[in-house]
């Protein structure tokens, strides 16, 4: 980084850069939003602890890097190996965590009023946040960048390899999940559970296992999101789940909660809205901008961008 003065960019390339930036953070929101939306789709529960699972995913990936002693960008076989280890630990750990949260905290409350699980979710949230703070310390930790720092420039607009990796991962996982839900036996069981769990039981579908699996799967996606988040920003903090989780939840609702492509669209739209808001209006008003658009959209299209009408609650 030199002390030279910046090169002026043309408005077009500036816009392009802002879109690329927004698209990247939007893709991460989308990955986390998938978890919110899957759980909601199956049992109409807003799993407020999901943001914390995402944060744990980032810390597990970091743990893998610390164990392997990775400190700088890698290539070839080393890169593939480290990536596999990171994904395995983060996804495996978070999958188990999601499964455990469902089993211990939510399953006993299946027959309780809808909002009961909300308190449990907040409790789980506090617990995970503080557990991570006690285990890893309160200070932000550096997340080593192990993906090669390749970048392409075009008239002042730059794009990094990592950004492309984030877009692709997010897109591929979303398509895979959509295929799983629409055209596998497991997906069919999930959709059936969403419609009528009692009838499912009569038909011999293991409803409890399907729900637990939904949690585990959603948590796995959050873990991938956490790892990419760590790679993109290179810092993690025990408090990261809160704001990002809130945004991802917003994205899920924006797209139409319970709808998988909706979560993707919602994440990208929110990311781009934030990017443009901070880039062209004002950074300190960017969340206001995003929420005003959200509220306005829901008032005119009360089911989100791609959603169906959902249950009334309380």
């Amino acid at each position: 980084m030199g002390l030279t003065s910046s090169i002026l960019m043309s408005p077009f390339h500036l816009l392009l850069q802002q879109l690329a930036n927004g698209f990247t953070i939007g893709a991460i929101y989308a990955l986390i939003a998938l978890g919110y939306t899957m759980v909601y789709g199956v049992i109409q529960l807003i799993n407020f602890a999901h943001g914390e699972v995402f944060m744990v995913g980032a810390y597990l990936a970091l743990t893998a890097l610390l164990i392997l002693g990775v400190a700088q960008p890698l290539t070839g076989v080393a890169l593939a190996g480290v990536l596999t280890a990171c994904v395995a630990l983060a996804v495996g750990g978070c999958g188990m965590l999601g499964w455990g949260i469902e089993r211990l905290a939510y399953r006993p409350l299946r027959r309780a009023p809808r909002l009961t699980a909300l308190i449990t979710a907040i409790g789980v949230s506090f617990f995970l946040q503080n557990a991570v703070m006690l285990l890893y310390g309160a200070t932000d930790r550096r997340f080593p960048a192990f993906i090669p720092a390749r970048r392409w420039e075009w008239g002042g607009t730059s794009l990094t390899l990592l950004q492309v990796v984030i877009w692709l991962t997010s897109g591929v996982l979303m398509v895979a999940l959509q295929m799983l839900v629409t055209s596998t036996k497991l997906g069919k069981a999930m959709r059936a559970t969403a419609q009528d769990p009692n009838a499912c039981r009569l038909l011999g579908i293991p409803v409890d296992r399907i729900i637990a699996l939904t949690f585990a799967l959603g948590s796995g996606f959050a873990a991938v999101g956490g790892m990419l988040f760590g790679l993109y920003y290179n810092t993690v903090n025990f408090h990261d789940g809160y704001l990002t989780g809130l945004k991802a939840f917003t994205a899920a609702v924006l797209g139409g909660i319970g709808n998988i492509p909706g979560a993707m669209v919602g994440g990208l739209v929110l990311g781009i809205l934030e990017g443009l808001g901070a880039g062209y209006l004002s950074s300190q008003w960017k969340n206001v901008f995003a929420f005003v658009v959200l509220v306005g959209l829901l008032v005119f299209k009360p089911t989100g961008l791609l959603g169906e009408r959902v249950a009334d609650r309380a």
Partner: protein
Amino acid sequence: MRSEHTTTSRTQSQFRIPHSAFRISGWAGGCALALVFPLIHPHPYHLDVLTTAGVYVILALGLNVVVGFTGLLHLGYAAFFAIGAYTYGLLNLRLGWPFWVGLGPAAMAAGLSGVLLGIPALRVRGDYLAIVTLGFGEIVRIAVTNLEPWTGGPNGLLGIAHPAVWIPGSGVYAFGVESMPYYYLVLAVAVSVTMVCVRMGRSRVGRAWAAIRDDELAASCCGIDTFQLKVLAQGVGAAIAGLAGAIFAAKQGTITPDSFDFILSVMILAMVVLGGLGSVRGVVVGALVLGTLPELLRGFEQYRMLAFGAIMILMMRWRPQGIFGHPPSSSGVSHGRAAA
């Protein structure tokens, strides 16, 4: 929505006289204990914790009108609390209005913003309403932070006047940083709000709210103007939060935007749910428990919030319907829907 059978059979308690008598004696006993507590145990810290918990009680009662009575999930309730606090703070600092004069406008400003939010927002249904209210809460907090010339920005408002009362025979008594006067002020307001809430829950309007909560479609078929009543619930709930906000501002003397964040909205909702949705006494108890718990757990030091989270989980396992909620009926509730 089918799941609501779990919480319907609530308002029929007047037909069970012994139970009702028990309940009234419970209220009376609670009030009596609250009245004499500072006299037998004048510990300023304990009184301060209870005063703060009392402010939570008022807030939870207000949110209960929206969530418990009418069944509208609201995730931005702290915004109304903020509007009340800043209204009194600004009226006091800019125009020199004393607390007792500022209290009414604070409640009115919050109530009005509740109605104004309600008119567009209540077109949105179910969980989408939750996100609209969440957005509103964030918008208000960020606006208060950013509108520095009016609200003092992140510094907030400093030097807001404490209340003062005129006592016959001994002149004007100004509240300072002593805990006891605030304790009685909050107690008086909390008891009044509780009485209003109990009456409201049993009134014609309260029954209409319950009808909307249990089945909005059926309610509108019965000729209930559901939109108007939902806006009314939002307005009443917001006004109560405004009242609490003015008291909070007067007690603290300093208010900053970070006192009114999303966590607060969620915590108040948790108090309502913990006590038992729609049950006024449940909400009072829920707010007292969750309001004092973080202070009770101080001995755990760094493990304090960890323990707090664990206790929240265990409490809901112990009583999923809330402390004073009705146990779920075993018939007619479909498994998955009731779960969520």
